[in-house]
């Protein structure tokens, strides 16, 4: 039985709670949140031990691992404390707001020898994994351009009240929220950029943070990259992320539902004929034992627990990997 403590019981924290709660080999041993109305309700209805301070929880509960879903500005302190106590740590994305802290945390994680993972769940979506495979196997030839985008409706009007997502100091804004996912996914497929050529952070409705991020990136070998994210686009029902990768033999356009591949005549590859081949999530996504909001949320926690259990040594979204993403986020902020 793996004893897990949850730190942060907001939207993502409760989602992780439910997914872990559905596993027979996990015991949710404690929950920590600063909002008393959440912890008291959970304590009353599930009987779980609750804490309002993560240090008290790390001290008082006998844990193997923690899942941290608090505002990004708190990740460094909480993850450091958990690693120091010898726990395995899963942290929501982005890892840290300060790339130097991310790098420090990544080092700490490696030296601790504990499982460490960040919640970039898109890496567990079958269509994006297939896009990556096609790049890595050379099916697209020499890759020369990648573009990534994400659109959705998080902030669609000027507003009076606010949450941490609308405060820059706590990790709010489209750059850390939406763009981080896309940057990380681009890293997953083609590796990390060596330079941010230009960037724009645009406000649409928010007062303190940007609502859209546009950037030109340069990858090793002269590969160009383009990033476009906007969380104030209410023509999208929910967050919609798309990657397009261009190579000398063809291109691939991938989103959560489809992997659309176009190969030049003579560039057939495995089951992909020349011209268009469209493969869907129904065929590319491995099944999970419990579904909530998307297979990827379960798959990422399964991968984390496999590391904790010692069932696997193949880690995805390590702190080191997420710290590379944080470096690019920092470079975009600096270039804007």
């Amino acid at each position: 039985m793996i004893k897990v403590g949850l730190i942060g019981a907001g939207k993502m924290g409760l989602s992780h709670y439910a997914i872990l709660g559905a596993r027979d080999d996990v015991q949710i041993a404690a929950v920590c949140d600063s909002a008393g109305y959440v912890t008291s309700a959970l304590r009353k209805y599930t009987g779980v031990s609750t804490f309002s301070n993560h240090r008290n929880m790390l001290e008082g509960a006998n844990l193997d691992a923690v899942v941290v879903s608090t505002p990004s500005s708190t990740h460094f302190a909480i993850a450091s404390d958990a690693l120091t106590r010898g726990l395995h740590v899963f942290v929501e994305k982005p890892l840290c707001l300060d790339p130097n802290e991310s790098a420090q945390l990544a080092k700490h994680a490696v030296s601790s020898g504990r499982a460490n993972q960040v919640g970039y769940h898109n890496r567990f979506i079958g269509t994006f994994r297939e896009a990556r495979r096609l790049v890595r196997t050379g099916a697209l030839g020499e890759v020369y351009h990648i573009s990534g985008s994400a659109f959705g409706q998080v902030v669609v009007r000027p507003k009076a009240s606010s949450t941490w997502r609308s405060r820059k100091s706590e990790g709010g804004g489209c750059l850390h929220d939406y763009a981080s996912h896309v940057i990380d996914l681009m890293n997953f497929v083609v590796g990390s950029p060596e330079r941010v050529l230009s960037a724009q952070l645009r406000r649409v409705y928010s007062r303190d943070v940007e609502d859209a991020v546009y950037a030109m990136l340069q990858y090793p070998g002269g590969v160009s990259g383009q990033l476009e994210t906007n969380w104030s686009d209410d023509s999208f029902r929910k967050m919609t992320t798309t990657l397009s990768i261009y190579g000398t033999k063809g291109k691939v356009v991938a989103d959560r539902q489809e992997c659309r591949v176009y190969l030049h005549p003579g560039a057939e590859f495995e089951r992909y004929a020349s011209g268009w081949t469209i493969r869907n999530i129904t065929d590319l996504q491995p099944a999970v034992a419990f579904y909530l909001r998307g297979e990827e949320y379960t798959a990422q926690l399964d991968a984390f627990l496999d590391l904790v259990n010692g069932k696997s040594t193949e880690s995805e979204n390590t702190f080191a990997s997420a710290s590379v993403t944080d470096r690019t986020i920092g470079d975009i902020a600096a270039a804007a």
Binding site: K159, R237, Q257, T282, L292, R293
Partner: protein, 290 residues
């Protein structure tokens, strides 16, 4: 419970196969009139139930039906709540307490909260009732014999093991609306056990049921067993797995399942409605004759 139900994903830009298709459907069904045109086709072909989310535009459809009760004498709504993105987007935007304030009917939350926030919100059951009532307002005066909990909420509660809320929901919709509770899920075998523990016998459950096992957590064999067991009344959704299975093949497989009660499907055109209905009717009559 009716055997053939009309779903609404196609009206609200939900397509699990293609973002592009979802977008073009959202453009096509941009107002209630365009939705009603397709709904009328379904109704006139003999499908009397509209199983729908509590999307704002469904409110307009409800208004239309209410204003033309003679035309829609047998029309039934099976509301599915909540329209989760409305809440999820709001939680991201203004936080949880503000979201509750925004969607619970005017000022009632304030009354509840007066004094201590932490103590009052512990009464999760009362809060659930308020949110259900807010969602049900738009169906006043219409037939809603079954009221569903959407899968994002059902499966969240399932994972959190808050099973008492399943029975609280069932109790509330029965006493206040004279309706049966239904539960949408992606985890059918596990849910049946949880609902039985919650004291709900022969629950109405709507789940993905398709030949390729798409989003059937627990596996296709476990689904077949539980559907055939008679422990629940199952409505199959996503029978075409968003288009991954050809219609005739998909329908033949689903209709041959032992113990399956109903099928919900969506379609955007009169021709597709008629085709699917004819295939299902035929497959079921063959089954009955066998």
């Amino acid at each position: 419970m009716q055997r053939l139900l009309f779903g609404d994903n196609q009206f609200f830009g939900v397509n699990h196969m293609s973002e592009e298709k979802a977008r073009s459907q959202a453009m096509r069904f941009r107002d209630a009139t365009s939705i009603l045109r397709v709904l009328d086709c379904a109704y006139d072909s003999g499908i009397k139930v509209f199983m729908c989310t509590t999307h704002d535009r469904v409110g307009e459809v409800a208004d239309h039906v209410r204003a033309n009760l003679a035309r829609y004498a047998e029309f039934e709504f099976y509301p599915c709540m909540p329209y989760a993105h409305k809440y999820a987007n709001s939680v991201g935007e203004v936080g949880m307490v503000e979201t509750i304030r925004r969607f619970a009917p005017g000022g009632i939350l304030e009354t509840l909260l007066r004094g201590a926030v932490s103590a009052a919100t512990q009464d999760v059951e009362k809060l659930m009732q308020l949110l259900v009532d807010a969602e049900m307002k738009r169906f006043t005066g219409l037939r809603t014999p079954i009221i569903f909990l959407q899968n994002v909420v059902t499966d969240l509660l399932l994972g959190l093991k808050l099973e008492f809320l399943f029975s609280a929901f069932a109790r509330h919709v029965r006493t206040k609306y004279g309706a049966e509770a239904g539960f949408i899920t992606m985890n059918l075998p596990r849910l049946v056990e949880a609902l039985e523990r919650a004291g709900i016998s022969m629950p109405i459950i709507c789940a993905n049921v398709n030949k390729i096992g798409f989003r059937m957590c627990g596996g296709i064999e476990a689904y077949k067993r539980v559907i055939a067991s008679g422990r629940c009344r199952t409505i199959a959704m996503s029978i075409f797995a968003s288009g991954a299975i050809a219609p005739a093949e998909a329908i033949e497989w689903v209709c041959a399942l032992e113990g399956l009660q109903s099928i919900v499907f969506g379609a955007s055109s009169s021709a597709n409605i008629q085709q699917s209905k004819a295939l299902i009717d035929r497959a079921w009559s063959l089954m009955a004759g066998a």
